[in-house]
């Protein structure tokens, strides 16, 4: 992951793992960081074979699916909140934003 996108250095260091973990909002213990660095290097090295794949057009036979914009029954507020660890006045209660 230390490499430039053209792939001059493909070693994966602890800092790279910590950076991606921060982007993904997952705390990691130090031993997890070290283990993942080794594993990611091996896995990304294997993924590098994708470089040999020719550009291919996807022949997507897709159509948009629309439905009428009508009011219909949905989850009740109480049901939607039923699994939340904390709620207040009919809202989810989360941690402070900053």
């Amino acid at each position: 992951m230390s490499e430039t996108p053209d792939g001059t250095d493909d070693s994966v260091g602890a800092d790279d793992v910590r950076h991606v973990a921060e982007l993904a909002r997952v705390d990691l213990a130090d031993e997890e960081v070290a283990e993942f660095a080794d594993q990611f290097e091996e896995i990304l090295d294997y993924f590098a074979a994708l470089d040999e794949v020719p550009e291919t057009d996807a022949d997507a036979e897709l159509v948009n699916v629309m439905r009428a914009d009508e009011v219909r029954e949905g989850l009740s507020q109480a049901a939607a909140l039923s699994n939340a660890p904390d709620s207040e006045g009919g809202y989810f209660r989360g941690p402070r934003v900053s």
Binding site: F40, I43, P95
Partner: protein
Amino acid sequence: MSDDEFDAFLTETELSGADDGPLAGRTVAVKDNISTAGVTTTCGSAMLADYEPPFDATVVERLREAGATVVGKTNMDEFGMGGTTETSAFGPTKNPVDPDRVPGGSSGGSAAAVAAGAADLALGSDTGGSVRNPAAFCGVVGIKPTYGLVSRYGLIAYANSLEQIGPIADTVEGAAALLDVIAGPDERDATTRYDAADGGPEEHPAETTSYADAADGDADGFTVGVPTELVEGATEPVRETFHAGLDALRDRGVETREVSLPSVEHAVQAYYVIAMSEASSNLARFDGVRYGESGDGGDWNESFAAAREAGFGPEVKRRILLGTFALSAGYHDEYYEKAQDARAWVKQDFDEAFAETDVLATPTMPVVPPERGESLDDPLQLYLMDANTVPVNLANLPAISVPAGTADGLPVGCQFVGPSFGEAAVIRAASALEAAVE
């Protein structure tokens, strides 16, 4: 109910169905990533240890309308991420054929429940082989439907563009009859729609086909293609059993021919890049605010990161991180874009093969079920075990795994792959092999 000696179930329950219907009197085990209203649905994760969905998945509604009784929620690799059911936060499931061995995964609990006779039928989900792999390892039948045949409403998502819910049973006809019940359009899953507005077929294929009727054992006149790339990678004993199965099919009037799918050499890489990328986005919802354990203290970001550190196991973290990396600025073109090219290439290769064959046949798994604890330490080796199943998900195609016999006393599955919405063809071919090896 049994005493669950193979640890197939995470929750035992009894949700009875309608009095009449095609599945009246039948018991069904449901994978624990399929929502059951008011019944704990964990996805095999500590993150959802106490989660009770406020609604039923469409497939669960259809089971109960068809008369089936849901007898429990089955163990699975955490969020479907694994091929052995060992990444479950609640401990592994044993293979009823040999309790020292893994049942396969990620729908290992579902296959084990059927193999042990603890349920007549089961539902799994298949993102890269998670129905076919455990069916093969436990010596039962599993179907991965064409993308869009079965509603995913209520399936807790791992990789939306790849996954389908599929049936598991001890016979081809049993699995096909369960597919008849769960297949069909659902207005709550737009990808089940088939009424291509621009001149496509009017009917959803499930509404005009009886899959159970296709399990008639008669594949006389079929041409079965054998992709060399997906046979060569299997171990010698697996290949011997597979080839004996092909011999038995030829005795029943099936013609076999070799075909080549050069793109599949890149299928495992493409599959994992796409699945991990989708997972990194899907699993962002697990923040400890709407469900799960709150990550106490700190601001929004610190609290989320703490909740996710505590709630996810190592394989899930690995995939979220690698997926985040593959989608990040500077690497998106190198990994994600190339994986999408490979996906299109795999589809083209299959289309070309089906121009001259009815179905394709491969060993479902390149190996027999490993012993528990044997394969967990090396994630890449586990990914390579999916070589024969992931191309099918990349190409959105239907496939079935059916017992082909044994190698070293352990079950070997034969996989039949069909053209898009060609479920009847793979069911027919599998029922012919089932009749031939009995």
